[in-house]
Amino acid sequence: MTLYLDGVSKNYGDVEVLRPISLEVSNGELLTVLGPSGSGKTTILRLIGGFIAPTCGRILLDGKDLSTTHISKRPFNTVFQDYALFPHMTVEQNVGYGLMVKGCPKEKMKQVVNEALDVVGLSDFPGRYPAELSGGQKQRVALARTIVCEPQIVLLDEPLSALDAELRRQMQFFLKSLQRKIGTTFLFVTHDQQEAITISDRLVVINHGGVEQVGTPKEIYYSPKTKFVAGFFGDNNLLDGQLTASGSIETPLGTIPSLQGSNLKTSKVIVAMRPELFRIGKREGAFNIDCQVQNMDFAGDMNFLRLSPKLDSDRTLLVKLSSDPSVPNLDVNGDATISIKLEDIAVLDNPR
Amino acid sequence: MNNQSTRFTIFVCIIAVPVVLVIIPIANFFLMSFWKMESNQIVESASFGNYLYFFSSPAYWGTFLSTLYLCLKVSAIGVLVGYPVAYFVWKRKGRVKYLLILLLILPLFMSYIVKIYTMRTILDLSGILNKLLVAFHILEEPSRQFIYNQTAILITMAVIFLPFVILPIFLSLERIPKNLVTASSDLGAGTLTTLRYVILPLSLPGTVSGALFTFVLALGDFVTPQMVGGPNGFTFGRVIWSQFGLAYNWPLGAALAVILFATALMTIIAAGWASQQRKV
């Protein structure tokens, strides 16, 4: 199975909420659409699900145009953000709904429903009503309800956003292992970077209705291609830079020698350095920055270090150090040199 | 799939019902108001004759004006009695409050004809009202001043339509957040001050729209005047009604109804406007 979005866009009146995007979803992967609220994530899901029609472009399933295929006939099923469980039906009836409307025999239905409830770990209360379930349980019912239909893709719209932090982590793990187990393609929508990185095979980052970058979590995290992506994950240190003729980069904090493998298109660039990739102390062949220590916060597994560079003391750099008890504390207001390996520095075009 | 035209057909079918039930009949009687009666036959020739007749005969527009005045009094009595009652009930708590308001609107469900009829027996010369007044020595002997005149119509309408005023007032009181009232008394305001500066202004829109709707109800009523008004108790509604009965002049009746329609429409628009002024 391959789903292909071919230049799909969506306008509401004059407002373009989704710029034309092309995207391939392949079999058995867990693909996440990540973007801030209002960026058009739900719109993408609803276009694929068939709840709304694209303004331009086509949606192709194994090469077949889906534009005339009604929601009820598309081999996709959605897990809604508010679960959308039928309040007047029991768990069992909810899960069996997709089979019931297709006229599945009672015996078979019961068996399939029980299996699905087993998979999501809810076989104990098939007779309960949605109002009698916790958030996480409702979530599982919604999942079970879609997988009994054996869809080719499960579409999940921020399924975990209503859950508290602890439950959320459990459900992330559960979702991922469920997806592995049944081998169905999941298209997952979230605004939470951490969640996206944790569970996805591949990520699509969108902003203002346009795709910023597509890639594996590692690519997106360590090699952002746009300023938005670079700034979206955690507390990245971003610097403006100027590409010179020799290939080195001038920054306010000094010159970075020429980097390999970067194919930059503009002379203005952005330099991104992840806080956890710095080390204390000067190193040969690395980018070294002399700083004054502003403060150091102990956060259990991490030390958060804030420093102001000597060359540009209004700026603050953030460094995360794994907290090793043997490492001595740095003096506040004392001097320190930090270093980052050249291959750990990400440099990206700054078109503006 | 011919989605567009299917939808259009469905749309037309759905719209057809209210249109046939409401719009066409109303348009029809607007049209008929320009026709006239000649030797007991409706003649389809357009003129303003009926309207001119209305404005040139004091009997008609006099009745119209006195009916407006009567309905105004009905609404005013409704508010004067209804507001304190709604306020009192609103101040109760829990079940008592719910039960009281229920009992106050319950009479709305009871047969309209029956209520008028009983009001007639109560107001009659040998009715309970006269018996009570005589028993308390307010009157020397039973009086006919409560029945078969405009007073009888006023009393009866005021009683019958009272729940229609109480309910909207109560509902607009209910919308006032309780913490506003608490805040006001927290700031040292007494019950009366709170009532004057917080509760009255906030419940005013609901009260006005309730009173206006009662006004419309009273305006169109023709059974009450017919049953308790006697030979002198003519109201505009009753005049229209008689054009469709013994007087048999449908075009004139239609013209009068157009005037009633316009008046009611303006009142309803005013009521709608009033209820939009609400701040809570």
Partner: protein, 267 residues
């Protein structure tokens, strides 16, 4: 909470007005019920002769029985038609993004907002124009127009409270439109429709001002009562009146009980 003396006085004063209001509102009903059981004439009330006699007499009165039948037939048919129309209209207006949505609503509410005499005489002239003679059918049309507003309002409120994702979920799981209505929408609407139907029945049972224009030779209970009352006093009337009151109170209580929990749930 402490109450000052003035507050107490105000409370007592308002309480008295409320008590007076109750007295005025309920006296007619009490008076009626007594007179239906106890015979009275010019010489006074004969307390000793209380009986259900007049209720039995009523059963022998053919014109009353006919009126009851007509009333029931009219209200059942009118309410059924109005309920179906209300559901279709509400779904159409709420979900299909109907064109002229406001206008449609205004038209639906018109018979309820305008004085009944307008609805009555406009339909009378309309039927006369297109040559339909008056009878049960014309009364049914008038009542349908009237109670449609009630049912529409209740159905629409319920529909708005229902998340639209339920409908989408149903379609998503493969249900046809009809299946979605049957298994998802209808169970959600049913309570509102039943409440609305009871309320509409109560309105229809009592409807006089429109009916009188559309009845022709047919009579309904209110028209029959009006006729009987014009002729003059008869204990029979009181018996019929008491039955009518009882039925309407029962309907009112049913409606109240049904609406109350709904109010509690809608935060």
């Amino acid at each position: 909470m402490h109450k000052t003396n003035t507050e107490h006085l105000i409370d007592v004063f308002l309480g008295l007005i409320t008590a007076g209001t109750f007295f005025v509102l309920y006296m007619p009903i009490v008076v009626n019920s007594i007179f239906s059981l106890v015979p009275s004439d010019r010489n006074g009330i004969h307390w000793g002769e209380a009986s259900f006699e007049w209720y039995w007499r009523l059963l022998e009165n053919e014109s009353v029985i006919a009126a009851i039948k007509t009333t029931l037939i009219v209200s059942v048919i009118a309410v059924a038609i109005a309920a179906i129309l209300a559901i279709i209209l509400a779904i159409y207006v709420e979900w299909e993004g109907a064109v002229f949505q406001r206008t449609i609503e205004l038209v639906v509410y018109t018979p309820f907002l305008m004085p009944p005499i307008i609805t009555g005489l406009s339909l009378l002239m309309f039927f006369d124009r297109i040559g339909i003679s008056r009878g049960e059918a014309t009364i049914i049309v008038g009542h349908t127009a009237l109670v449609l507003a009630v049912l529409y309002r209740l159905v629409l409120t319920r529909l708005r409270a229902m998340p639209h994702t339920l409908v989408e979920a149903s379609a998503d799981l493969g249900a046809t439109r009809l299946q979605t209505f049957r298994y998802v929408v209808w169970p959600q609407l049913r309570p509102a429709v039943i409440t609305g139907a009871v309320l509409a029945m109560a309105v229809s049972f009592d409807e006089t001002l429109i009916t009188v224009f559309l009845a022709g030779d047919t009579t309904t209970i209110p028209l029959r009562l009006w006729g009987m009352m014009r002729v003059g006093f008869k204990p029979e009337i009181n018996a019929l009146v008491t039955i009518v009151l009882l039925v309407s109170i029962i309907m009112a209580v049913i409606t109240a009980i049904r609406i109350k929990p709904a109010e509690g749930n809608e935060e």
